[in-house]
């Protein structure tokens, strides 16, 4: 990998959350994260619950401002605010997604499509294409609050592709899904990566998923990177046979 094909660079990110007014308590969510993700890479962020994975994705997406450090997207520095142009090149899909409850799948996709400037024929063609791609035709006119978890997740992935993102952030995309739906979603992710050459940053709890999809992995623990590299390197580092064992080894104090 070359240095100049880095599309996401995270430099020294620190983020603490303050709670309580009179007796403030600080939770250290991220404690100095450095990462470089290359163009076209499918990068995995793993770690136990509360390790800081989702916070990291939100920082990269510009939804949380770090206390220290910066995020570079395609060479553009963001230390608090992304330009509109940068935001047009990225998108994100979260596990257990929420969208406006009264909107049907098609209406929700129309709404978010318009937020990216899609209009008229372009919008309807894009929405139709994504409904087909994510096998949502049967649910296109169903309200979001009436969908099953798996269908909500597929809607969320469809929504995250509305702007043809160059960088796609997937936060636990198969969380809470049955094995069949999970397999289908993994298939879609693979396809997006191989056919559309999208740079994907994915967080997951499922080691099988990480093993199957990711080329490189960062293992986060207590807001710090505990291990970084290819799957093989991490397995070697932890003397593990598979990622499941590596996870347990890295997560155990």
């Amino acid at each position: 990998m070359k240095k100049n094909d880095i599309v996401v660079e995270v430099q020294g990110i620190i983020k603490d959350y303050k709670s309580g007014f009179f007796k403030p308590h600080y939770t250290h969510a991220l404690r100095g994260i450095d990462l470089a993700i290359h163009e076209g890479e499918l990068f995995g962020v793993l770690g136990p619950n509360g390790a800081g994975k989702t916070t990291l994705l939100n920082v990269i997406m510009g939804l949380i401002t770090p206390d220290k450090g910066c995020v570079m997207i395609a060479g553009n520095k963001n230390c608090g605010k992304f330009s509109q142009e940068i935001r047009k090149t990225m998108n994100m899909s979260s596990g257990n997604p929420n969208y406006p409850w009264a909107l049907t799948v098609r209406e929700a996709l129309n709404f978010y499509g318009m937020l990216y400037g899609l209009w008229g024929k372009n919008l309807s063609m894009k929405v139709d294409h994504l409904i087909d791609l994510m096998e949502l035709k049967k649910y296109a006119d169903t309200r979001f609050d009436e969908l099953s978890t798996g269908t909500k997740q597929r809607t969320s992935i469809a929504k995250s592709l509305l702007n043809d993102p160059k960088i796609l952030l997937l936060d636990e995309p198969t969380s809470g899904m049955d094995p069949n739906i999970s397999r289908k979603i993994r298939k879609v992710i693979k396809r997006l990566h191989s056919e559309l050459k999208i740079t994907i940053l994915l967080t997951t709890h499922y080691m099988r998923e990480a093993e199957e999809l990711c080329s490189r992995i960062a293992f986060i623990k207590d807001g710090k990177i505990a291990a970084l590299g290819t799957k093989e390197k991490i397995k070697r580092m932890t003397s593990s046979k598979n990622m499941e064992e590596a996870f347990i080894e890295l997560a155990t104090d």
């Binding site: 959350y17 303050k18 939100n58 997406m61 510009g62 939804l63 949380i64 401002t65 608090g80 605010k81 509109q84 142009e85 935001r87 047009k88 990225m90 998108n91 994100m92 979260s94 997604p97 929420n98 969208y99 406006p100 409850w101 009264a102 909107l103 209406e107 129309n110 709404f111 978010y112 318009m114 937020l115 990216y116 400037g117 899609l118 209009w119 929504k159 702007n163």
Partner: protein, 260 residues
């Protein structure tokens, strides 16, 4: 079409869908305002008020219905996302605060116009209420819609600062403003220090102006200049405050908490 116009349209489209699919939005536009106008009209009859005094009260009831309907829509532009826990999804996109404020205000204005004509029609049928000249009517309505935008924007600012627990302010703030700006009585009737506060609310001047159409004398000079001037100043200040509150919400994690 310009991408900012598309985004504004997107929020108007979403507010429209919520408005036609939810009973509570229908009740806000029709049920409560109709209850208000009929109660006030009947009370006027019971108290044997003169035509002018009855018009004064009915004007207040009509404008209260219009103001409440419109200002709620502006607040809803943001609250629909808060209640759906989809705030994060909206701000992942290249959205500016002005986009959802304007988009929802457009629907608020349309719903306010429907409320206005329905209430004025009912008041005319049951209580012989007549509308003032067309120009005075539209100027006053424009003022009420601008004040509704200010009220809705204030709600958005507070939610960014303090989270969903404060969403009740969407109903409280408008009621407070209506009380202060003399919705059912002249502001001169208020205690002096409250009357001073009323002078900082644009709605006070638009109500005053609207009532001149029924022969009431003005308590303030240049009500339109003051009303529109204050509105412009407040909208400018609130846009800045909402932007600052948004940046603070990203810093404190409130933006994400509003999506959980």
């Amino acid at each position: 079409m310009n991408s900012q116009l598309i985004r504004i349209y997107a929020f108007a489209y979403r507010n429209y869908i919520f408005a036609v699919r939810n009973f509570f939005t229908f009740a806000e536009m029709l049920f409560w305002p109709i209850i208000g106008i009929l109660s006030i009209g009947l009370m006027g009859g019971f108290l044997s008020l003169t035509g002018n005094m009855k018009s004064f009260l009915l004007t207040g009831a009509i404008m209260a219905g219009v103001f409440q309907t419109s200002q709620l829509d502006v607040a809803y532009g943001f609250l629909y996302d808060v209640w759906s826990k989809s705030v994060k999804q909206t701000f992942i996109a290249p959205v500016r605060n002005i986009d959802y404020i304007l988009g929802s205000w457009i629907i608020g204005t349309l719903r306010g116009i429907i409320t206005f004509f329905m209430l004025a029609g009912l008041a005319a049928i049951f209580f012989k209420f007549q509308l003032p000249s067309t120009l005075a009517l539209w100027i006053s309505l424009a003022g009420v819609y601008l004040t509704a935008m200010i009220s809705g924007m204030t709600v958005i600012f507070f939610i960014f600062m303090f989270g969903q627990r404060i969403d009740i302010i969407a109903w409280m703030l408008s009621a407070l403003m209506m009380m202060l700006c003399g919705i059912y009585y002249p502001v001169t009737y208020l205690p002096a220090f409250i009357g001073k506060i009323a002078q900082f609310i644009p709605l006070t001047y638009f109500l005053e102006y609207f009532r001149t159409g029924y022969g009431f004398t003005l308590n303030f000079s240049h009500p339109l200049i003051k009303g529109f001037g204050l509105s412009a100043i407040y909208i400018g200040i609130l846009l800045l405050l909402i932007e600052l509150a948004f940046l603070k919400a990203k810093k404190t994690g409130m933006l994400i908490r509003l999506s959980e």
